[in-house]
């Protein structure tokens, strides 16, 4: 996927100018948090979050051990494990498996990992016919767009846009698609045939279970099960940090995931995949492959960003983030948007190209508050800004501005003399009107709001004067 994170602000401006889309995003920003809050209130969120965090920390600290255990179990169950250092290795491995199986058609379940590696494009270039079978993913696939949200890929599209898309792309003759159920029924009809004719099914995973070698997937549409059981080859693509020691650990996480993601206690489907069809099984694939992607996760492991590897991709931080709601998911310019994306994108791609993202944050802390993995997102974003300063990616005027401020504020007498004089002038100029419509060095501020004028002399000047008058000095 071509990355456009460097154009974050331009893309955000475009999104902000589209009134109707903006209003839909505003609704999302009200509706999703309300759903999540209600669902989370049913459990002891803090205790569960604490528990899952402890398990996840332990797993990450012993990742090599659990990865080995997982691999052994998958092999024992009759499956194959493939290791992919980066995106191109994962894509090549999948293509090799497809070619060996003489596959022509591929059905995919929703998987952010394969978005990360650009798998669909890779397979299509090689001549395979690939269908996304998650409804949201299917919509953005036929629209030729990337997902705008990690749970609801087509959240940005209106009902009318989807209707027009279906009427245009599906060659089904004359019909109206008057309401969403009609549209869903049509998608189901189109997709049904794809499920039945796919040679290879590819899904992601919400958790890899070391003890049993199972992979866990939650969906609401059941499409994950269909692409996993109908085609003769089943491929699971997951990144290495998805590991959990035992089934009960994975389920504890799911209790948080469903509530945080869509505001329900459980998803409609919770599936454990254990391997290929065994003798006597009525259905299931002939081959079962798990591809484990690193793609720089081992660099994050042991760094001050390790907490980010606990992310369970629920998307709560997205819909709770006022910057995401304003900018929209596409502005972030890569696979992962919102606060979690603003941390992951620079770490998994390039800090310089993604340098806007860690700055797309007011530090309001709402993301950390709702994060079911307890990730200190504002701290990690601040750390990335510090990395940008150290690498001199931050514009020079900001770096020098902060340096100057730091130097001045270190010497109270100098600071007070300088600010006292500057404030007196500023106050004299602006007091009558109350503020400034424009001000040198404050263009960003005054572009959209007045700059309130100082009341008068600085507090320190007035305080010292009062003390002198009172005879204390």
């Amino acid at each position: 996927m071509k990355q456009t994170s460097e154009h974050f602000q331009d893309s955000a401006r475009v999104a902000l100018a589209r009134t109707e889309a903006r209003e839909r995003m505003d609704l999302l920003g009200l509706f999703m948090p309300a759903m999540r809050d209600a669902a989370v209130a049913e459990v002891d969120f803090e205790a569960l979050r604490e528990h899952v965090k402890r398990v996840k920390d332990h797993t990450l600290d012993n990742l090599e051990h659990y990865l080995r255990q997982f691999e052994e179990q998958v092999v024992m169950n009759g499956g194959h494990v493939h290791w992919a250092r980066d995106a191109s290795e994962l894509n090549a491995t999948v293509l090799d498996i497809c070619r060996a199986a003489e596959a022509r058609r591929v059905g995919k379940g929703k998987s952010m990992i394969t978005e990360e590696t650009g798998l669909t494009e890779h397979l299509e270039k090689a001549g395979l016919h690939v269908t996304e079978t998650d409804l949201g993913e299917y919509i953005v696939q036929i629209a030729g767009e990337p997902p705008s949200h990690i749970v609801g890929p087509a959240f940005h599209k209106s009902e009318q846009e989807i209707r027009e898309l279906f009427l245009d792309r599906h060659k089904l003759g004359r019909r109206q698609l008057e309401d969403p159920p009609a549209m869903v029924a049509e998608a189901r009809e189109v997709l049904r045939e794809r499920f039945l004719t796919a040679d290879v099914g590819i899904i992601g995973s919400n958790a890899l279970i070391a003890e049993t070698g199972q992979t866990l997937l939650v969906t609401n549409e059941g499409n994950g099960d269909l692409v996993s059981t109908l085609p003769k080859v089943h491929i699971v693509c997951a990144s290495i940090e998805k590991l959990m020691p035992r089934p009960e650990d994975a389920l504890a996480q799911i209790r948080l995931l469903a509530r945080s993601a869509i505001g329900t206690a459980v998803t409609a489907y919770t599936s454990f995949y254990s391997g290929p069809r065994r003798a006597g099984d009525l259905d299931g694939p002939e081959q079962y492959h798990v591809i484990l992607l690193d793609n720089r996760r081992t660099e994050i492991l042991g760094s001050n960003y390790q907490d980010m590897l606990a992310c369970m991709r629920c998307g709560a931080c997205l819909t709770h983030c006022p910057v995401y709601i304003g900018a929209g998911g596409h502005a972030y310019g890569w696979v992962y948007p919102g606060p979690m994306g603003s941390v992951l994108t620079p770490l998994l791609t390039d800090l310089e190209q993604a340098s806007e993202l860690p700055n797309a944050c007011t530090g309001c802390g709402r993301c950390e508050e709702v994060c079911p993995a307890g990730i200190p997102l504002p701290d990690l974003l601040r750390d990335l800004r510090a990395d940008e300063t150290r690498a001199k990616i931050t514009p020079a005027r900001w770096r020098w501005g902060m340096k100057l401020h730091g130097w001045l504020a270190r010497v109270p007498s100098l600071y007070q003399a300088f600010t006292g004089a500057a404030i007196a002038v500023l106050s004299r100029l602006g007091r009558r009107r109350g503020g400034f419509r424009s001000l040198p060095l404050a263009a960003g501020w005054t572009q959209v709001r007045d700059f309130p004028a100082p009341q008068g002399d600085s507090f320190m000047r007035q305080w010292k004067r009062r003390k002198k008058e009172a005879g204390h000095d």
Binding site: Q9, A12, L16, R22, D26, L30, P322, V323, G326, A327, N359, A360, C361, T362, G363, C364, G365, R366, E369, R382, R385, A386, D387, T389, T394, W398, R399, M402, K403, H405, G406, A409, P412, Y415, Q416, T419, I423, R431, R432, R433, G434, G435, A442, G444, W445, V448, R449, D450, F451, P452, A453, Q455, G456, D457, S458, F459, M460, Q462, W463, K464
Partner: protein
């Protein structure tokens, strides 16, 4: 109460109150004294270092943290009329100085002594302000993010306002950020504009004529946007109301 029994408070002015709104600092001191405290203002204080810390210039912020730690050594209480500065001292100094054991110990000690003003007045002093002239007017309150999420400040200002007879008309999404975010508002003005407009619209939807809050950064942002939109909304810091310091112009308002 004899002088010895009065709680000894070191007052941290905060740079925005110092430079733009001294009446916030004077009001806070007045309230602390009315509540029975003995207040001192160390004159070697400047800025808590938030601008540098939050924009990634941690090396420039660290010496400022040292300064504050030194200036406020020995006070049993340090009180700040800003949730974000108090949050900086209580939560972020120990992180900022984590690799310097001696400073870290001093930072942790300061963190335990530091209070945001409304929580200090309610939780430590159990203070009851006099009845406010704002009684009977429609007033709304913006919860600033740092105070709310780092320090749990939500009921404290409301309690004080209720004791002063001020009834609040709560706005929708009062806990959502106003789009200030320190340097964010200058770095990303378009997104900031959207957020502050949402805030302003929610405030105006309550029919309130006055918006109060506990952090000058947010208040200057909201007031600045209100002026730009020619809205008549009066924006003030909560301590100004509690101390009856209402004669001067509201934030961003001209002299009448």
């Amino acid at each position: 109460m004899s002088r010895e029994h009065k709680p000894h408070v070191g007052f941290f002015v905060s740079c925005l109150a110092d430079l733009f709104r001294p009446s916030v600092a004077f009001s806070a001191i007045e309230l602390l004294e009315a509540a029975g405290c003995q207040v001192e203002v160390p004159e070697t204080q400047t800025c808590c270092g938030q601008p540098g810390y939050n924009s990634g210039a941690v090396d420039d912020a660290r010496p400022l943290a040292h300064r504050v730690i030194e200036a406020f050594a020995g006070f049993p209480y340090v009180v700040v009329p800003s949730g974000s500065c108090a949050g900086m001292i209580k939560h972020h100094y120990p992180k900022l100085l984590a690799e310097y054991p001696e400073w870290h110990a001093r930072a942790t000690d300061l963190a335990q002594r530091t209070w945001e003003i409304t929580s200090f007045l309610v939780e430590v002093m159990d203070y009851a302000p006099t009845v406010s002239p704002l009684q009977g007017r429609k007033v709304t309150y913006h919860d600033s993010c740092a105070g709310l999420r780092e320090l749990g400040i939500k009921q404290q200002p409301r309690k004080l306002l209720a004791r002063a007879g001020v009834e609040l008309a709560e706005m929708q999404a009062t806990e959502v950020c106003c789009g200030f975010g320190g340097t964010f508002c200058a770095k990303m003005p378009d997104l900031s504009e959207k957020m502050v407009d949402d805030k302003l619209n929610n405030a105006l939807d309550t029919g309130a004529g006055v918006l109060l809050g506990g952090d000058l950064g947010c208040l200057m942002n909201i007031a600045g946007r209100a002026r730009r939109r020619d809205s008549q909304l009066e924006v003030r810091h909560v301590v100004e109301v509690l101390a009856d310091e209402l004669t001067g112009p509201a934030i961003g308002e001209g002299e009448r």
